[in-house]
Every structure is written in structure tokens, then in C-alpha cells.
Amino acid sequence: MPLDPALAGRRFPTTPAHDVSRYEVSRFAAALGATDPVHHDVEVARRRGHRDLPAPPTFPIVVAFEAMTGFMADPSVGIELRNVVHSAQRFVAQRPVYAGDVLTATLTVESVRQAAGTDLIATRSEVATTAGEAVCTAFATLAHRAPAVGER
């Protein structure tokens, strides 16, 4: 069943506060093999002019993904993660995410269009601190393929 085109323009609820810890920044960087001590050693980070450990440039996806998960799970949307392929991603950062940030994401559906049985959903998630400071805008395009009846 194709998605409702009326989804375009809808804004979904802001995610709960996400406390970004030093451990989380370091672990995310380590999962990517990023050994630059700026992600792992706060003394190095401060010597290099940072207020705390900066996260890798794609880290905002962690918070944006929470918003995407909420969007997909919304009963009025109803799409399953396993039927979704991430087709494009873009970040526009005001600054890096730092350990110590408390972040939320608010997702807006920018457009929904159909191509060859697939719904292409363009989303925009505004990642900000709970104090209201804009940190990053994460634009994700999701391709959703609805399974045929009886298919698993």
C-alpha cells in the first residue's frame, strides 16, 4: 500500500532528550576505526580548542535516527525498518556534536513521491540542544518498498 502523500509537510514529535556522553562519542568513533585521540581523550580535545570530545561528522544521525524510528513506528505511517533503504543523507552542521550535549531531533516530512513501486520519503530532522541551540540539520531520503500481500 503506498504511503499517504498527505504526509508531506507533517512534523513529528520531538524525540526525548539524548545525553551525549564521552563514552558514547568515543565508542561511535571506535566503531568507525577513528583513532584520532580528539574523539577519545578530553585533554587532547581541549588542547586542540574543543570544549569537550567532538563527535565524528556523521554522529548527528544517531539522534536523527531516533526521530526516523519514531516516524516509521507512528501508526498513521506504518512502515517497517526492514523494508526501508536509506537512499540519501546530508548533514548541514552549525557545529560538531560535543560530549555533554543534550540533544533532541524533530523530523519533518519534506516530500513523498512514488517511483517503480517504491515510496521515496524526503525527511529533515533538526538536531538541537534542549536549550534550543541548533546543532545540525540532517536530511534523509528513505526508500520504502511495501511487501506484496503474503510476502514476508
Binding site: 567532538p54 531516533e66 526492514r82 540519501a88 543523507q89
Partner: protein
Amino acid sequence: MSGQGQPAPADWTAGTELPTQVFRVTRADLVAYAGASGDHNPIHWSDRVATAVGLPGVVAHGMVTMALGGRALSTWAGDPARVREYGVRFTRPVVVPDDDTGVEVIVRGTVGTVADGTARVDLVVGCDGTTVLGQARASVLVAAGLPGDD
């Protein structure tokens, strides 16, 4: 901070070729990324689910491939904070075999334009001889005196 033999961002001009970076991705990396990112989509760890949705097998999270491009950008720029805009299209899946060696992801970068203290960097990200990310480009701050300068 810049690596040896690599042009400092302040010296970048249109056409500057950045040193190619090669990364290796294994199933273990995908599991680590799933844990670190919260993206537990089973197509990134279960062959059964991946093939059921029509993929050749377990594929890397697009965000892992994109993040390796981000690692290359951070290295070239000298600091992750200099990477201000970064976008890609995920054009081909990176299939990660269930073995100990995994696959190689190769990231090449060329400086496009430099204006107002910002450089556009065009990336070519490949795996197994094919390009896996499309329209991969970033805006990187090149002016001195930013966080990350020693």
C-alpha cells in the same frame, strides 16, 4: 594538525588531490556500528533477512560507508569540526562477506572550489571496483584559527 605528506587545508586550491584513504569493513564492524548508532536493522547482520528483502547478502549500513568518507574528510581537514556540510546518495550496497577480511572501501577526494574560507571537496567512494556513493561532496572550513588548530 595535518598528516605527513598531505596538503594543509589553508593551502588547498581548486583541483588539489587529497591522499586516497583505504578502509576495511568486516561483519564485526557492522555489529559494532549497530551497537554504537542504535541502527539494528537486520539487513546489516542477518543474511536470512537481507536475502529475503532481495539483497545479495548482509550489506553495510549506508551510514558506515558515509562515515568512512567522513573519516577521510576529518583526516584531510585536520579536525572533524572543520567538516560543516556533507551529503551523499547511497547508489550501490556494500556487500560484506561473513569472513575475517571483509571488504575494502576506498575514498578519494578532490578539492572543487575554495571561497570565503570554505572548500568544497568532491569524494569518490568505491568498493570492489565500483562507486558506491553518488554525489558525495562536503564543505570543509579551511581558514586558520578554528577549533582543531594546534
